[in-house]
Symmetry: C2
DNA sequence: TGTCTAATTTGACTAAAATCAAACTTAGCT
DNA sequence: AGCTAAGTTTGATTTTAGTCAAATTAGACA
């Protein structure tokens, strides 16, 4: 009876991971079936609605999350309210880290998000017997560092026009848009784009208008955008 | 005879680490004596003179390094030559990573540098029996990510004046200057400061002049600087 | 110490993006 | 469908930092 019960729970957990849409790209993908069994039992899935705060700067770092669905913006604030988005996290991306004592940024859901959480302390315990999880987290962290450094180049050295072009290409890439005229939804409001690119909302709007006038992009209702001249956008970026 | 010989070699390697000035802050600090013995045998120390290239973007990622002495600038370039320094690496900092197939930036010595190198492939092999090295590298990578994100906020949202103030405080911090009027050498040329802060050399120069005129800092020959009004500089940043 | 070059500073002017303000559009709600 | 608030666009103007040019200073080396 107890035996059956245990088996039932474990298989439930594994089912959860087996049916997980990011199981092949999340940091847990490195685990074998045995590790995953133990690991999945530690996870809690939570759904956030648009604009809900996930992490708050300065709070104790208790959880890391793996994004299952949706997009999360990671941002920092100056005292006077100026905001800079330092990362956009997509499905499969890791939220937070297992090292720092506190969160050093805010994380907020853009649209509805589904996130799989783990307690930092439990991951660290788990890693004692499954140290490969460190390599997996390192791989994700390394990607984030690489992205952050690309963005440093953009913020420090690119013009507004180049920034907008780079932003559009980033979104096309994250949407795996393979077409020569990729079409996707821009998940950010103009103000958020401005906070991502280190610009003002007016500059963003003007540059979008220019691209539309020059037929480089088309914009439909609901922030759907089509990149008409991909190569031109690439050369601008 | 053979026995003595082995012992001699091993103790030489360990001596090298025992006398290493960054042994308590480098990523190898996590290793116990046994691990260190094996690890130290894999290392090669190299000295670079000012402006020497250490890594080149696009080249195969063969080595990671731990800085023993000196400062290294990590930078990226746009096609037209615009440059952005994405990181300044100090003694104890890790250069490169063990994940990517290629370097994605340039690394260049600022002044004379002493660097302890390891082959990426050998670190990965070593980690199979010493997986804690992953955690140690993760910790260093995580620091770099945190620094990069602080810099994203600076580049995206701070004014030239605020950038210069932040830069001076960063240097004071890296020099462990505990005094109320910290004094240290600015290791970068004006052009490099500009490339670090996303500014032009003229803007950097003008803002330094302003700070000097307002008696917030003093500058002596040889780029030695004294922060006269630390609190004011902090509030500006 | 003097000479030469590189680095830095300063000035005048320009350009890019920010600010301020208003009009217009979209999306959600009753 | 009409109302409302939020979001976006556009225009006029200002500000900041960039550009171009020249003068000055610092550093390396004979």
């Amino acid at each position: 009876m107890n035996q059956y019960n245990n088996h039932f729970i474990e298989s439930l957990n594994l089912d959860k991971c087996n049916s997980c849409p990011v199981s092949t790209i999340s940091f847990c993908t490195i685990l074998d079936e045995h590790g995953l069994e133990e690991f999945s039992a530690m996870s809690t899935t939570k759904i956030y609605s648009d604009s809900e705060l996930i992490f708050t700067e300065g709070k104790v770092n208790q959880y890391v999350g793996s994004i299952i669905e949706g997009i999360v913006k990671i941002y920092k604030l100056l005292d006077d309210g100026r905001q800079q988005i330092v990362s956009l996290a997509f499905p499969g991306d890791l939220l937070g880290n297992i090292i720092d004592p506190e969160y050093s940024y805010f994380a907020e859901a853009i649209g509805q998000c589904k996130i799989c959480f783990y307690q930092v302390s439990r991951i660290n315990n788990f890693a004692e017997s499954n140290p490969l999880i460190y390599r997996s987290i390192l791989t994700k962290t390394n990607e984030q560092l690489s992205d952050a450094r690309d963005w440093l180049l953009l913020l420090g050295r690119k013009s507004a026009k180049e920034k907008i072009a780079s932003f559009l290409l980033l979104l096309a890439d994250r949407n795996n848009a393979k077409s020569t005229q990729p079409r996707f939804k821009i998940p950010l409001k103009r103000q958020e784009i401005a906070d991502f690119l280190g610009l003002t909302i007016e500059t963003v709007s003007r540059n979008f208008s220019n691209f539309k006038n020059q037929q480089i992009i088309r914009e439909q209702v609901g922030h759907m955008v089509t990149i008409v001249d991909f190569n031109l956008l690439k050369s601008i970026s």
